[in-house]
């Protein structure tokens, strides 16, 4: 018996099941093409539907990562979408996600109050154990690292105990008389003074495993109060820890890491700093080994800017509106997708006509198809919003006071530092006393003392010689001047 099925037109047009990821996701498009909303929407879809853990790593210069904390305010839009798409009225849209805001501890930069919303939003300050610092971390911070850096780092790490924190390094460096080294001045000193680097047993150290195991909560790395030169260090350290956990099989492999305006790191059209080039390589490696469980979701304005860097690792690529005037961008797409038959010439021409939110989706081996992505269920950055903190004050205005935590960390550091300095001074005093005792006994001075005395004598001799030399030079100059004067008089 023949049965006639009525096909639901809405059902057939919906973009429902996003494919399970094996690589990364990229979104390209000019300003206002809807990249920001796309990243949020697609990651929310993966999180809500397929149980992916979302970690928002980099919010760009606009610090867009914070907007996870607020549900969308497009109420009319969602009401309309619910009606048109026949969405279950009982489901809560817009959605308030559970969010953990992670702030690296920069004691002089962090404000005393951070956003909180009990049950949903939680701000955490965190420190990094000194033991975790490796050469790669330093390379992401300092532009040139040589043998001295490697030596000093190894020396410090070898002597580092479990309970040794920043104060220990402070004293150790003084002992080693390495205070003039670049790694100390540009890396350890500022980070220790800002209290970011702590001992292995410090209670503020971030438990990355616990954070990654909490699949429901969105983890947001907030670099709002992190000096620009240390931002890559924080990202690199977090990713390194995640990689270690994935290697050990301690956390599930469904993880998405959001990076906005990825051209900051992947820019191939301009010369960048060494540390950014190094970070670019690392990021590229993480993307390449996405099946570890690190799926990077990134956006960028022009494919041309990141040419060749990201093409190989892409799983899903979204192409948004391309500027009609940008011949270079269209050529780039023609070159990569048009030549392989993934996109037709008509589709490439259509790229400049796409509306905000419309994209061409290239999924693995499939040909490009046109899709419209809904707005995210959370808020997103918009012109006129100002800073997130202003918005938070207007809408929620609930804050967590962290001044006590800051004071505690600083107090502990100062106490340790004073204690270690006293110990060092006591040791020096003992040495001095020993030396004096030996001398008073008429005993033979230690080798070191002989060398020091000799050095002092040499220095004195050098000084005397220098004085003689300078006097001679002065006399010669005087004689020359005299002869010149006489010559001039003759001429006259």
């Amino acid at each position: 018996m023949k049965k006639n099925f009525k096909v639901n037109p809405i059902k057939s047009a919906l973009l429902r099941n996003m494919p399970p990821l094996s690589g990364s996701i990229y979104a390209f498009g000019k300003i206002k093409s809807g990249k920001t909303t796309l990243l949020l929407n697609v990651s929310q879809s993966y999180h809500d539907n397929q149980g992916y853990k979302i970690v928002d790593m980099f919010g760009g210069l606009r610090k867009e990562q914070n907007y996870w904390c607020l549900p969308s305010n497009d109420l009319d839009y969602w009401e309309r979408v619910k009606k048109i798409l026949n969405i279950d009225p009982k489901v809560q849209v817009p959605k308030q996600y559970k969010v953990n805001l992670l702030y690296p501890l920069f004691i002089n930069e962090l404000p005393d109050k951070l956003p909180t919303n009990p049950g949903f939003v939680k701000s955490k300050i965190f420190t990094i154990p000194l033991k975790d610092i490796e050469l790669n971390d330093i390379k992401c911070t300092i532009n040139g690292t040589g043998n001295n850096t490697t030596y000093l780092l190894e020396e410090l790490k070898n002597n580092l105990g479990k309970k040794d924190g920043g104060a220990f390094i402070y004293n150790k460096v003084k002992d080693m008389e390495s205070e003039k080294q670049v790694i100390w001045k540009n890396f350890f000193k500022p980070l220790i003074e800002e209290q970011l680097l702590q001992s292995e047993v410090c209670g503020y150290n971030l438990d990355v495993k616990k954070e990654m195991k909490d699949r429901e909560t969105i983890t947001v790395l907030c670099l709002d109060f992190c000096p620009a030169k240390f931002q890559l260090l924080i990202i690199e350290w977090f990713m390194k820890k995640v990689k270690e956990l994935l290697d050990a099989g301690d956390i599930p492999i469904k993880n998405i890491f959001l990076f906005r305006e990825v051209s900051e790191f992947f820019r191939v059209t301009a010369v960048t700093e060494d540390r950014i080039v190094f970070f670019k390589d690392l990021l590229s490696t993480w993307m390449r080994y996405a099946r570890w469980g690190i799926h990077v979701m990134a956006d960028c304005q022009s494919q041309n800017e990141v040419r060749g860097v990201v093409e190989g690792q892409s799983d899903l690529t979204f192409l948004g509106r391309v500027a009609g005037t940008s011949r270079r961008d269209r050529n780039e797409i023609k070159d990569s997708l048009g030549s392989s038959g993934k996109m037709t010439t008509k589709q490439i021409d259509d790229l400049s006509n796409l509306r905000s939110g419309e994209f061409y989706l290239i999924e693995n081996y499939k040909d490009a198809r046109k899709v419209y992505l809904l707005l995210p269920k959370t808020r997103y950055w918009r012109e006129g919003d100002g800073s997130f903190f202003n918005l938070w004050t207007k809408i929620v205005d609930k804050w967590e006071d962290i001044s006590a935590d800051k004071e505690e960390v600083l107090k502990k550091f100062m106490e340790e530092k004073e204690l270690l300095e006293e110990e060092r001074k006591a040791k020096e005093r003992e040495k001095e006393e020993k030396r004096q005792r030996n001398r008073s006994k008429g005993g033979r001075p230690a080798k070191k003392e002989i060398i020091e005395e000799k050095e002092e004598e040499d220095n004195n001799v050098d000084k005397e010689e220098n004085i003689d030399y300078i006097e001679e030079e002065n006399n010669e100059n005087k004689n020359k001047q005299l002869t010149n004067d006489i010559d001039e008089e003759d001429w006259v």
Binding site: N8, I10, S12, L85, P89, V91, R355, Y372, L373, L374
Partner: protein, 166 residues
């Protein structure tokens, strides 16, 4: 009761969805699945009517809102007596083999009565409208719309056009 088709419009989307959720979940346990709901066979029609009456009655007790309950009461008005009569006859028809024909004739007599037939038809129609499977989608499983397709393009137009009006 004659205006039942216009009265059904009084039900809001959420009311229909609430009733629908109950009806669609309960239907597999009844005889409705085995029968063609628009059948004009007197025995089958009686069975369908009795079953629908029973389910809608249960649904009336299930709904949260009193307004919805009152609306369902209006639909069910007068059908209870017919259902009781028919239920007895259908039961006897199924139970006995001897004298079956008599029961079938009695059922036919009731159903062919114009007034009663209208009531039965109205109840069946209302049930079908209320139980028409509303395919609600889960927003968590929807990322967007395939705007490359004709249907998708229309949907996107309606979403975005309304947006510009705002």
């Amino acid at each position: 009761m004659n205006d039942i088709k216009s009265f059904i419009k009084e039900f809001s989307q959420t009311e229909i969805s609430e009733i629908n959720r109950y009806l669609t979940s309960i239907t597999p346990f009844g005889v409705l699945e085995e029968l063609y709901a628009l059948s004009e066979n007197p025995i089958e029609k009686s069975k369908i009517f009795c079953d629908m009456n029973r389910i809608l009655n249960a649904c009336r007790n299930y709904v949260k809102d009193d307004k919805t309950r009152a609306k369902l009461q209006i639909i069910l008005e007068g059908s209870e007596d017919i259902a009781t009569k028919l239920r007895k006859l259908v039961f006897k028809y199924n139970q006995y083999t001897y004298g079956r024909r008599t029961y079938e004739n009695q059922i036919s007599d009731i159903i062919t009565n114009k007034k009663i037939n209208t009531k039965i038809n109205n109840l069946i129609d209302s049930f079908l409208i209320l139980s028409e499977k509303l395919s609600f989608f889960d927003i968590d499983k929807i990322a967007g719309v395939e705007s490359g397709k004709k249907e998708g393009s229309d949907i996107v137009d309606s979403i975005l056009e309304d947006k510009t009006e705002d």
